[in-house]
């Protein structure tokens, strides 16, 4: 196992016009780590995670992936992206393809796998997320939770060493959150490197090795879950935790 961190941010800044979306972010994620990013909405969590596979450009600083500067003008952006799984809040399955074809598209056209091999791999993954019986269904025929599990299988089909989740359960009905989190927890237990933006604090406490708390584009706190939930160091983190524990309190103030 290499000593290089799998992801390293060095003084990364990003602006949307005059809005400073990422403020001097320096952070490392080690191979095999499970990192949960939390914070109030508009805090830069999604921007943070989207810069890791260059869905968002950055304005200064460097982001290293296995030591490679991914935001330099490189031509192999597709190649490094294929090694990073990304799961979106809105699932973003391809509605014109069935579940199997959704998952087989990238392995076949990027990895040049044969149809039989790709299908074997995808069926194994669909089985792991409990949806092998939905292989020929179209996305519109699935519930939100099922769609998100297919999206996870689709990301895994590229066998990425790193997988990013951008609020994977925020668009789901409450009763479907559990099935998706169970799949993600299973990945964590298998030793995958995960970075997950989420508001599910119970999940964070149970699964995360480390929690990053962001607000106004900056990482204000990095702590183990037990430290973070017992004794958050930053006042804004304390406020955030208080707000999500008693959601009516801010309205009463």
């Amino acid at each position: 196992m290499s000593e290089l961190p799998i992801v390293e941010f060095r003084a990364v800044n990003k602006w949307y016009g005059r809005y400073h979306a990422l403020v001097d972010v320096s952070e490392t994620v080690q191979r095999g780590e499970v990192v949960v990013v939390c914070g109030p909405s508009g805090s830069g969590k999604s921007t943070f995670i989207r810069t890791i596979n260059r869905l968002e450009p950055i304005d200064s600083g460097t982001i290293l992936l296995d030591g490679r500067d991914i935001h330099r003008a490189v031509s192999d952006v597709d190649e490094f992206r294929s090694g990073i799984g990304f799961v979106f809040q809105q699932f973003n399955l391809f509605p014109h393809l069935n579940v199997l074809d959704n998952c087989m598209l990238a392995p076949m056209s990027v990895r040049k796998l044969g149809a039989a091999e790709a299908k074997d791999r995808v069926m194994t993954l669909l089985d792991r997320v409990g949806l092998a019986h939905k292989a020929t269904a179209f996305p519109a025929e699935l519930s939100g939770g099922q769609q998100q599990r297919v999206a996870i299988a689709r990301a895994l089909a590229m066998e990425p060493p790193l997988i990013l989740f951008d609020e994977p359960t925020s668009a789901l009905d409450p009763e479907m959150v559990g099935e998706v989190l169970t799949v993600i927890r299973d990945l964590a237990h298998r030793g995958m490197t995960l970075i997950c933006v989420t508001h599910e604090m119970g999940f964070a406490r149970e699964v995360a090795d480390r929690i990053l708390f962001m607000d106004h584009g900056a990482v204000l706190e990095r702590a183990t879950p037990s430290e973070f939930f017992r004794q958050p160091a930053h006042p804004r983190a304390r406020q955030f935790l208080a707000d999500i524990r008693s959601p009516f309190a801010p309205a009463m103030r």
Partner: protein, 233 residues
């Protein structure tokens, strides 16, 4: 009326062929099919250029489309017929002239339909395709265009039906397509303009209605498979 049909049906179908050049309904169908076959890829390529990230591609194509959409087809035909030879130094035949004019004119309209279809898709479709490592081209070809074209099918067909009708403007540069032939027949017969132009109208109707029905059947078949972005949120 029976006499009219008996005397002129062959002329109506073929023009002066085989004694002279091919014309009539056959020429109209030939021109329509070639125009559809040529305008479709032109429209697709121009549409893709319209959504390109490269300004060097996007800007000139945008300008071209605005110019073409800002002028009547008759103008485009005149330009192709009178202006093109003054550049190339030789007279272009009516058929290729008309074909080029139709391909450019309808290509410009089809391009805007293609562009709208692409831009109407949620941004997440392109993002998730690229996040999987697909190149821009592959993402376009396998993810974006199949959805965009299917969604814009009604508008695309509408434009293609229009193309069939626009072949009649070949009349103006003396192309012996079916409208031209019909007016020749009318001049020879003199007494039956309603019947002559009635048959002509019916002919266009059958062509356009036929294409519409084929497209409608295609639409229905595609609609059986789910298409809307399908995220019940």
């Amino acid at each position: 009326m029976i006499d009219l049909l008996q005397n002129y049906w062959l002329y109506f179908l073929l023009g002066q062929y085989p004694e002279g050049p091919l014309g009539g309904l056959t020429l109209t169908i030939l021109l329509s099919v070639s125009a559809l076959l040529l305008a479709s890829p032109v429209g697709l390529l121009l549409g893709l250029a319209r959504v390109s990230q490269h300004r060097a591609l996007r800007w000139p194509v945008t300008a071209l489309i605005f110019v073409v959409r800002g002028s009547p087809l008759l103008m485009v035909i005149f330009w192709a017929y009178f202006f093109l030879p003054s550049v190339t130094g030789q007279q272009t035949d009516q058929f290729p002239t008309m074909l080029i004019a139709l391909a450019i004119f309808n290509g410009a309209y089809l391009a805007e339909i293609v562009r709208a279809g692409i831009q109407a898709l949620p941004r997440g479709q392109m993002e998730s395709a690229r996040a999987l490592g697909l190149s821009y081209t592959t993402a376009m070809r396998r993810v974006i265009l199949p959805q965009a074209l299917r969604n814009s099918l009604p508008s695309l067909v509408n434009q293609l039906v229009t193309t069939i009708k626009e072949t009649s403007l070949g009349y103006i540069i003396g192309l012996a397509e079916v409208s031209f032939i019909a007016s020749q027949i009318n001049i020879q017969v003199l007494t039956m303009p309603v019947q002559v132009y009635g048959v002509l109208a019916l002919t266009y109707f059958v062509l356009c209605f036929g294409l519409s029905r084929i497209a409608y059947a295609l639409e229905r078949r595609l609609a059986r498979r789910p298409i809307s972005s399908g995220a019940p949120v």
